[in-house]
Amino acid sequence: MGHSYEDSKKKVLRIIIILGIMTISEVIFALYGKGHLIEGVSLPGYIVSLVMILMSIAKAYLIVYEFMHMKYEVPGLVKSVLLPTLLLVWAIVAFFWEGSDWKKRRNLISDKNSQTINQDAKQEGYLMLERETYQL
């Protein structure tokens, strides 16, 4: 492996301490950002989420590259394992897009449900909204 047993022993101890510190700072930042630490002080949700996601990716890098020894594998192995995960980028974009569309539809349906229908128009077989019949 190119490095001695004592060196790698020290190295994993350093990595685990870094991971521990990162976890604690994630939790503190999440609590601070959501206003749990200081009364009345909070950050916008997207900033908290962004920082959390970046920290998690950094933690994932340390686990895969150091603990799982990805750093010491040949480039072909690294690529064949890591490149396919890029497909997930599109999965995230596509499904979140879909999710926000579901939300639009849910809102549309609840809007339609709360609207009143013009009784006269209903008798003639039309389902028109009150404000639309005024325009006729």
Partner: protein, 283 residues
């Protein structure tokens, strides 16, 4: 070009790629397949977590994690994220002991491998114990199930017209975004009445609604699937520990490669937890 050399010549056997017996990517068959298994497993977990995200985005309100996960053993409440941080540290600790076991294996130190593997198993069991406590609290005390989610979030401001005998008293006000837990007394759900004070429905009287149904199903299924991975990891760790103690891997003289393979799996379980922690608890 160094890359190509590795592909066509095996460092260990010295054979060329098409002579048979050469190891692709300089890794043993078992290790390589473990990597590809973990890749496929990563897609499974990603599918679940993305489904969680898509459903969460599609709902007008979602239970707030700091409110849902705020209990701590010993009867403590309002301790957001404390317990799950403990769980994360238990798993991190067992990841560290796993690396140490692999390192001791590489220098053929049987005693060291046994010592660190036992600690890893203890860590895994500790994590499962924590998860059991968390599930027990959610199911037994807060009555969340796969289909019923008593954790709701207000979408408008208002004032309570009745109290629940726990924390909410009649006359308490709340804002949009505030969370609540619907309590169950004697088998009956107690959905409190409140009066809306802003928005288009101002002045109307309403009743606390249940939270999005999908939350319970997603929570139990995803953390359960992860817990099942931890459980099967513990079982394999025990099997391999027995083999280590019996001296089976000493004969193989391959630096306890089996310990390395279960190590890859164990770190993957920790890796998945990083993202479960992110998606369910932090965001």
């Amino acid at each position: 070009m160094a890359d190509v050399a590795v592909h066509t010549h095996d460092e260990v056997t010295g054979k060329k790629a098409w002579e048979g017996g050469a190891r692709p990517f300089g890794a043993s068959y078992g290790k390589l397949m473990m990597w590809y298994f973990l890749l496929s497993d990563a897609f499974t977990f990603a599918g679940f977590l993305i489904a969680y995200g898509a459903l969460r985005i599609s709902m007008p309100s979602w239970p707030v994690p700091d409110f849902v996960f705020s209990t701590f053993p010993g009867g403590f409440h309002h301790k957001p994220l404390y317990f799950v941080t403990v769980m994360t540290f238990v798993l991190l600790f067992s990841s560290y002991t796993m690396v140490r076991a692999v390192q001791e294996g590489q220098r053929e130190n049987k005693k060291g491998v046994v010592f660190w593997m036992v600690l890893t198993i203890v860590g895994g069991l500790g994590f499962l114990g924590c998860q059991a406590w968390e599930w027990n609290t959610l199911i037994g005390l807060e009555h969340m199930t796969v289909t019923v989610n008593p954790f709701g979030t207000h979408v408008e401001s208002g004032i309570y017209l009745e109290g629940d005998g726990h924390e909410i008293k009649a006359g308490d006000t709340f804002n949009a975004g505030d969370s609540y837990l619907i309590h169950k007394h004697g088998g009956e759900w107690e959905q409190l009445k409140y009066k809306v004070t802003d928005g288009p429905d101002a002045g109307q009287e309403k009743m606390q609604a249940f939270g999005p149904k999908a939350f319970g199903a997603l929570f139990f299924f995803i953390t359960g699937f992860h817990g099942f991975h931890v459980l099967s990891g513990i079982i394999f760790l025990i099997i391999i520990l027995v083999n280590v103690m019996s001296g089976l891997y000493v004969e193989r003289k391959n630096g306890y490669e089996m310990v390395e393979k279960i190590g890859l799996y164990w770190h993957f379980v920790d890796l998945v937890w990083v993202f479960v922690f992110l998606v369910f608890y932090l965001i």
